[in-house]
């Protein structure tokens, strides 16, 4: 699935296959988990992981579009999640009295997604002028900037309206007023309206968006620009536009994921979205296979749950997680094994 150089018939066949597999996996997992949830056989710990898992899935699918399909290393995905999370929390907080939970959640996710897409576009203008490792470091820088800005942002509302302040909170609230974002303390007292069903729908939405993009004319242009920039340019593909499209859609998905994530916790601090979170999502994408959406789905779920499954090992769990990560990279990139796997695959075909 890595490049679209193969025979057309094969591509047509395999694309339906991988799409079908994706949707089936997500829906099957949802049904099984819902059944388990209602029969009460899921532990509280595990129940608490369901929504975050869907958030990471959406963010990872988005990042795979950016890193795998478009081929630009992005180390700032968590920054986009932060934008979505805090705008979503603000929307939900503002409309708390006026709208019931479900439309409010949908509206919060849409606003988070659109706002993040806008931020992604603005950041994309300078970022996409760069290439390779320089692009990566600039996305890292932007992620840090976004996080630091939100840590210094104060948003509140009372009967007189919404108040926004920066660096220091300069407003006295009327009685009944409420802080939506309180600087370094982040968002507190958020009503937890995110649900697993909403998360699953969001995952399916992300899949539909990404699959439809990949197999469209634009998607082929994005991949052509990745595989050979100069050749793509010479056949008239507008590199800047195609890269921007992937970047903005990736950011928008991260924003939607962030909005859902933010509304899943009663308190949320911006430092949650530091570069470690960006890297975590990148690890999901790379281990799943660049450009391989099914791989992303599986690796995100496995790697997200791994630290929890290793809980029995207590203090050693993150150490073992690190070792597993290194060993997977060493094994999957081992030339001897690769040739063997390759010959196996050829025999099968």
């Amino acid at each position: 699935m890595k490049n679209s150089k193969g025979i057309f018939g094969y591509l047509l066949d395999s694309r339906h296959r991988s799409r079908t597999i994706s949707y089936t996996m997500v829906i099957a997992a949802y049904i099984i988990l819902e059944v388990l949830l209602h029969s009460g056989s899921l532990s509280n710990l595990f129940q608490g992981l369901l929504v975050p898992a869907t958030c990471y899935l959406v963010a990872a699918i988005g990042l795979n579009l950016n890193v795998g399909v478009s081929g630009e290393l992005n180390l700032g995905q968590a920054g986009f999640m932060a934008v979505g999370a805090f705008s979503g929390v603000c929307v939900s907080g503002l409309l708390a009295g006026t709208l019931p939970a479900i439309p409010r959640l949908i509206l919060a996710i849409i606003v988070g997604m659109l706002l993040t897409a806008g931020v992604g576009f603005l950041i994309g203008i300078p970022v996409l002028k760069l290439q390779g490792d320089y692009l990566a470091i600039v996305t890292l820088a932007f992620g840090q900037i976004v996080m630091n800005l939100i840590m210094n942002l104060y948003v509140a509302f009372d009967s007189t309206g919404i108040k926004v302040s920066f660096v220091e909170s300069r407003f006295d609230l009327e009685p009944g007023g409420k802080f939506l974002i309180n600087g370094p303390m982040g968002a507190t007292g958020t009503e937890r309206i995110a649900t697993f069903t909403a998360g699953t729908i969001l995952v399916l939405f992300a899949l539909v968006v990404v699959y439809n993009l990949i197999y469209s004319r634009n998607g082929r242009a994005i991949m052509a620009a990745r595989d050979n920039r100069i050749a793509a340019e010479s056949i008239g593909i507008n590199i800047a536009n195609t890269k921007m499209m992937a970047f903005v859609i990736s950011a928008a998905l991260a924003g939607a994921a962030g909005a859902l994530y933010g509304l899943n916790y009663s308190t949320m601090v911006a430092s949650k979205f530091d570069y470690n979170t960006s890297i975590l999502i990148l690890v999901y994408v790379v281990l799943g296979g660049l450009g391989n959406i099914n791989g992303t789905l599986i690796s995100t779920v496995v790697l997200f749950l791994l630290p929890q499954l290793l809980r029995g090992l207590q203090d050693y769990r993150m150490l073992i997680y690190a070792v597993i990560l290194i060993v997977i990279m060493l094994v999957t990139n081992n030339n001897v094994l690769k040739t063997k796997m390759g010959s196996l695959r050829r025999k099968k075909a």
Partner: protein
């Protein structure tokens, strides 16, 4: 006068960044990889120095040497076990492995030495040199002096010795270097050894300035120094010095005159502006892609 003293403080911090950035830039220049675990090698160096100076009460210089030796060995071991098998793999695979190593070191340190912060002993008397109204802490002077000495030694080594020219050859063209009989793997190991040894020096200077030792101590200076390396043009040794110093000065000045909370925003903002004007960093070489 306040400006001058801030400038000197900035130079002091910048010197630390510069020494760390050297590790990033050398490894990038030779092995073409972003060594995300470098910040955590600094952290290990800080712990080794802490135990050498505090627990075993070694004198200062032997204590630092122990830390340098420890980090050098650590760097070479990491390179052998984790990075060497991936010489032919994609750069992303190496990046993820480096992240794995970083997690490993952080969590290993937490297990071995617990997450509670340890106080690094004062290694340099707290006095200050007074020039007119300007007073410069001895610590800052020592930091800047160390950076200068490191830079001079490294430049001489790279430009004047046979091994140094082998290193330059490897960074330009590994295959050609191999044909000339250069042991490329050896050179890469040596680069990691030097970078990690410098990380230990940086660790001691960092902890002398900010004396709390924790398992995550290396990550923020690591990112800043990485930024500094890119700032100056990654792969370029004078670039690392320039980038480190500039970054330190910008950070301290923006803390002093603009806002403490927003200093990181300003530092990273300047990086972005510089990369837009000079896409390969201040002293980086722009290599044009051939069709």
């Amino acid at each position: 006068m306040r400006f001058l003293s801030n400038l000197v403080t900035g130079l002091g911090l910048g010197s630390v960044y510069a020494i760390i950035a050297l590790g990033y830039t050398m490894v990038y220049g030779i092995a073409k990889m972003l060594n995300f675990a470098h910040g955590d090698v600094i952290m290990v160096g800080a712990y080794i120095a802490f135990f050498a100076l505090n627990r075993f009460s070694l004198p200062l210089i032997p204590g630092i040497l122990v830390a340098v030796l420890g980090c050098t060995v650590l760097g070479v071991v990491i390179e052998r076990l984790a990075y060497k098998p991936l010489r032919q793999a994609s750069s992303l695979a190496v990046l993820i492995t480096a992240i794995g190593v970083s997690y490993f070191l952080q969590n290993g340190a937490q297990l071995l030495w617990s997450a509670s912060p340890k106080m690094f002993p004062a290694i340099i008397s707290s006095g200050a040199l007074k020039i007119g109204n300007l007073s410069i802490a001895y610590l800052t002077l020592v930091t800047i002096a160390t950076c200068i000495v490191v830079m001079i030694c490294l430049t001489l080594f790279i430009n004047r010795t046979k091994t140094g020219s082998a290193m330059r050859a490897c960074s330009e063209d590994k295959d050609a270097a191999r044909l000339m009989g250069i042991n490329v793997n050896g050179i890469i190991s040596l680069t990691f050894a030097i970078g990690s040894g410098l990380a230990a020096v940086a660790a001691v200077l960092l902890c002398a300035n900010y004396p709390t030792v924790t398992p995550t101590l290396g990550s923020m200076p690591g990112i800043k120094a990485f930024t500094a390396a890119v700032f100056g043009g990654i792969g370029s040794i004078p670039g690392a010095l320039l980038g480190g110093l500039l970054l330190g000065i910008i950070e301290i000045l923006s803390k002093a005159y603009i806002s403490t909370q927003l200093s990181d925003v300003i530092v990273f903002g300047v990086l972005i502006v510089i990369l837009l004007v000079k896409p390969a960093g201040l002293l980086g070489k722009k290599i044009n892609e051939k069709v």
